[in-house]
């Protein structure tokens, strides 16, 4: 204890200086917001770094939500797109209130399951009849055509994608308008085949393949793929095309389900026509 007091009295000036300096600096930092903010921010730098790292991690969790949000907005916008309308009034008709009727309606869904390594691949969507999904609705992704809804439960639906050997759809070459039948040979999920393209069609490698409205499922002009190879089977009057699919099924997430509001009408008309011809 004696030594302690001796120590104190020996260094009393230093102690006093430190105490007074601490007093001054605490006054200073309490009363001056700039220095305080610098002090606080630099002492919070470690905490901030942790928060930054945390945010950069958790932003990937929110990403799904954000993507859903954006996709929903896209669906609304697509529904308003000119291509989504059926022009009901011809030019020389008197223009009434409505010049166009909605033909295609888009809603979003998420592919929660997808197989790509089978012959009969399927996709499962997290939307079903409660959300207005019906059988035979088209399914698109931002990249292009995905498939068609084949089965619907309350909250889920299954999709027959292009990469299922049961899938067929009528497609056309965007540039020349020649159409053929899209099929999958069951080998490589990146490639598909188009059969029965007219022999005289001048198709080159790199031509774009788009969907046709004849299927009553998809709107016209949805991207399907790019021509990779053109071949003419021996003794055939038709061309076969090998195309690279626009959609990568191994990483498909957000899709749009397309509802053709005029499908019934078109189908009914076509059936009636067929009956009429049969009865004749």
């Amino acid at each position: 204890m004696k030594n302690f007091f001796a120590f104190l009295s020996k260094y009393h000036k230093e102690f006093l200086a430190v105490i007074l300096q601490a007093l001054c600096l605490s006054f200073f930092f309490i009363h001056n917001s700039f220095q305080r903010s610098v002090l606080i921010s630099s002492s919070n730098q470690v905490v901030g770094e942790v928060y930054t790292q945390k945010a950069s991690l958790t932003k990937y969790f929110n990403l799904i939500e954000q993507v859903d949000q954006l996709a929903a907005e896209n669906a609304i916008l697509r529904s308003k797109n000119r291509d989504a309308f059926y022009f009901a009034v011809r030019k020389n008709y008197r223009v009434g209130d409505t010049t166009s009727l909605q033909q295609y309606q888009y809603s979003t869904a998420r592919a929660i399951n997808a197989t790509t390594n089978l012959q009969f691949n399927f996709l499962t969507l997290n939307r079903g009849s409660y959300q207005g999904i019906e059988k035979d609705m088209g399914v698109l992704s931002p990249d292009g055509l995905v498939g068609v809804v084949v089965n619907v439960s309350g909250n889920y639906s299954t999709v027959l994608p292009i990469i299922n050997t049961n899938f067929t759809a009528s497609v056309e070459v965007k540039r020349t308008k020649n159409f053929g039948l899209l099929k999958w040979d069951g080998v490589d999920p990146r490639y598909a085949k188009i059969e029965d393209i007219a022999n005289h069609a001048r198709i080159v490698k790199g031509d774009t393949i788009v969907s046709r409205a004849s299927s009553k499922i998809y709107p016209t002009g949805v991207m399907v793929g790019i021509v990779e190879k053109i071949e003419q089977p021996e003794g055939s009057n038709y061309l076969d095309l090998k195309i690279r699919l626009a959609v990568d099924y191994t990483k498909i997430t957000t899709v749009y389900v397309v509802n053709n509001l005029m499908k019934q009408e078109q189908m009914k008309l076509e059936q009636e026509t067929a009956q009429t011809i049969e009865t004749k």
Binding site: A17, L23, F28
Partner: protein, 174 residues
């Protein structure tokens, strides 16, 4: 002794008023030249003043300036630092035979060399401390050091002048 105390109190009031009324209005070279005269008070404290009293007086001086400048603690902090280093510097530059405690820390009493090394060191400590604490960031670092040097030069000029004005007048009056 009583005369010393009165003289110190009067010097305190005079220097604080000179600082806040006159010097604080001087702002030359767009803020690069900020003269401080009040450190003269710490420089002029009698050599026999005990260390703790120097520190306390420094604190009071700094807080007085702060209360005028609304910079709570800035001047006080620099003054306390200066007050502490005053003891250190005095020990470092003491004459071989030690101080004669009737001596005053003035040019007249201690000589120009001694006084200038004493004043330059302490004024520089004060100015480095105050300008860097005020800036408190690495932006404008070099500008701050230029401020320190220019302002210290001006302060030292004033301190030097004071040696020939205030004190000689008083000596003569006696």
């Amino acid at each position: 002794m009583i005369g010393d105390v009165i003289r110190i109190v009067l010097r305190f009031v005079f220097l604080v008023l000179l600082q806040v009324v006159v010097m604080n209005n001087i702002n030359l070279a767009s803020g690069l030249l900020v003269p401080f005269i009040y450190p003269l008070f710490i420089l002029m404290l009698p050599l026999r003043t005990p260390g703790w009293l120097v520190l306390v007086l420094s604190l009071v001086l700094g807080l007085s300036i702060d209360s005028f400048d609304n910079t709570m603690g800035l001047h006080a902090s620099a003054c306390v630092a200066m007050g502490y280093f005053r003891g250190v510097i005095l020990k470092m530059i003491s004459p071989r035979e030690g101080y004669d405690f009737t001596q005053k820390p003035t040019i007249q009493s201690m000589g120009t060399n001694w006084f200038m090394s004493y004043a330059v060191t302490l004024v520089l400590i004060h100015h480095v401390w105050i300008f860097n604490l005020e800036n408190f960031q690495f932006d404008f670092f070099f500008r701050t050091q230029i401020r320190v040097l220019l302002s210290a030069a001006m302060t030292l000029g004033l301190v030097y002048l004071s040696q020939y004005m205030l004190y000689q007048v008083r000596e003569r009056r006696r």
